[in-house]
């Protein structure tokens, strides 16, 4: 649904987005990660046609965003960063305006408003002015606007920013649900959301893609991925060292596979060793790897080397 080819955006001499290429298909939820200023919002603004790219092109549903912007925009629902909405309107008035702009009228408009009000839990504030809403409600009002025409493509810029934990949970569930039938891109810098909602994640840094894969694949890039952590009575580092590099943790030992296949071979070897030596194990765990460690390592290469 979304095709991005060699996308570049320069502001003056600075290349904020520097040659991005990726696709998002229907049924996919793409998490767009990166530190602040990495070019996430700029990329989303180019996908939705708000700003023109310096180089490269974006097509949505087969329409080039630069050449047929109206056709492309009709397919997209967009939640901009900071969720702007007209402060002088009521929630209902705002959603009715969005429905009108999307060409909905009569019964279809009424149904569409009813549907998004339910999806985004807005019933209690429906006739309240947007300037009187709390941040969470304002955010969901803007999200409702993006969903009003049931678009095939959803672009959500930090959809959970400023929400409380319960609301975050609801929005994540909503993203997962919507992602089954739509092509959905959302940006975040909360890593747990990648696990909670994404089928695929892209990490960008300084306008370039530095990682692209499923959440499992990204975790696999972690240094501790596949390592076995073991604790118990009698466990000895000298014996474990025969299996691989050993690191002492707080009351436990961690053995690294060091490039070996991590498909359970190491953990079986540890279990065998424990049986032979008569160790009384208390805990044994294969590390999956941690996204935040991967994220820190690949987005801050300068500090990681120091």
């Amino acid at each position: 649904m979304i095709r991005i080819e060699n996308l570049v955006k320069s502001f003056g001499p600075k290349r904020v987005v520097d040659g991005l290429t990726f696709n998002v298909e229907r049924g996919e939820v793409l998490g767009f990660l990166g530190p602040n200023g990495a070019g996430k919002s700029t990329t989303m603004r180019m996908i939705t046609g708000f700003i023109p790219p310096t180089e490269g092109r974006v097509t949505v549903g087969g329409y080039d965003v630069a050449e047929s912007p109206l056709e492309a925009k009709r397919l997209i629902g967009y939640l901009p960063e900071a969720a702007p909405a007209y402060p002088d309107m009521t929630v209902h008035g705002f959603l009715a305006f969005a429905a009108d702009m999307r060409g909905l009228s009569g019964d279809a408009k009424k149904r569409a408003i009813g549907r998004v009000v339910e999806l985004c839990f807005l019933a209690s504030v429906l006739h309240q002015g947007i300037d009187t809403l709390s941040k969470g409600y304002k955010h969901r009002t803007c999200l409702a606007q993006a969903l009003i025409h049931d678009p095939d493509v959803l672009v959500l810029d930090e959809p959970t920013d400023g929400l409380d934990p319960n609301q975050k949970h609801e929005v994540r569930n909503l993203i997962g649900e919507l992602g089954r039938t739509k092509a959905l891109v959302f940006s975040t810098h909360i890593l747990e959301e990648v696990d909670a909602a994404c089928t695929r994640a892209i990490i960008i840094d300084r306008g370039r893609i530095v990682a692209n894969g499923t959440p499992q694949e990204l975790r696999g890039m972690s240094l501790v991925a596949g390592a076995v952590t073991v604790s118990g009575q009698g466990v000895g580092a000298d014996k474990l060292a025969a299996l691989g590099r050993v690191e002492q943790l707080d009351g436990a030992w961690r053995v690294y596979p060091d490039g070996r296949d991590a498909s359970g071979e190491l953990v079986r070897a540890v279990v065998d060793l424990a049986a032979r030596e008569g160790w009384r194990l208390e805990a044994l765990r294969t590390e999956e790897g941690q996204l935040d460690e991967v994220f820190r390592r690949i987005t801050l290469p300068d500090t990681a080397e120091q």
Partner: protein, 248 residues
């Protein structure tokens, strides 16, 4: 075409409603009517003139609008930029032109409402004497076009900044220029050292020169063309500014 026009109407309706949800619109209307009344009857000497016309009413409009129209137009784009709703609006299926036209027409309609509310002066002059109502109608048309020209300029300056006050001041300066280049004291000053052809050229850019005909009841196509081309040019400039702003 039909759906394109529908989008313009949707934007215009939202804009017009937003004038009336805040008390600012009513404050504006009251101030506008008080000022027109004051200038017409007190400063303009409507009764002392002893003639059945609205000359004392229309002659002040270029000056009155100088402050009032930029106040109506200043928020059109700067407010959208400040609140971030510009991004929302322009990522909906609209062209920049539809958005500009919708907003412009809404504020123009608001000014037309204000102008229409001056109907008591028409009644007054008809009760007191036998005015030429054709001249009055021409005056109203000219006044509406004049307001449209100022408004288009305010629309343009509003697109330049996210600060409404800056937009207001810029619009007043540009409009003031359009008044002064045809204002008699200024043209008299110019004739002392410039050739008459030059003075005429400068004066041709003035709203005063072109508004004069309407006040006398003459609807000249050149005057119509002048006001419509100022509107067209300022709105075109608005679209260029918005496009540039988006391109970064």
């Amino acid at each position: 075409m039909n759906s394109a026009w529908k989008t313009v109407r949707t934007i215009a309706r939202r804009e017009l409603v937003s004038y009336f949800v805040s008390p600012v619109a009513y404050v504006f209307l009251v101030i506008y009517l008080l000022l027109t009344g004051f200038f017409t009857f007190t400063v303009g000497g409507f009764f002392e003139r002893g003639e059945a016309s609205l000359a004392a009413f229309f002659v002040w409009h270029p000056w009155l609008y100088l402050v009032l129209v930029p106040a109506v137009g200043m928020r059109l784009w700067s407010e959208e930029r400040r609140a971030g709703t510009l991004e929302l609006l322009l990522t909906m299926p609209v062209t920049t032109w539809q958005a500009i036209l919708g907003k412009f027409l809404a504020s123009w309609a608001f000014l037309a409402i204000a102008l229409a509310l001056t109907f008591p002066v028409v009644i007054t002059v008809n009760v007191l004497g036998e005015p030429d109502n054709g001249v009055i109608a021409a005056g109203y048309l000219g006044s509406l076009l004049l307001a449209g020209a100022y408004l288009a300029i305010a629309c343009m300056t509003s697109a330049m900044t996210r600060n409404q006050v800056v937009a207001f001041i810029l619009a007043v300066v540009v409009c003031l220029f359009l008044i002064l280049c045809g204002f008699n004291p200024v043209t008299d000053l110019l004739t002392r050292w410039a050739s008459p052809a030059f003075v005429d050229t400068v004066a041709a850019f003035s709203v005063i020169t072109h508004f004069d005909g309407f006040q006398k009841g003459v609807i000249d196509t050149r005057d119509l063309f002048f006001f419509l081309s100022v509107i067209g040019f300022a709105l075109f400039a608005t679209s260029v500014i918005i496009r540039n702003h988006r391109a970064g």
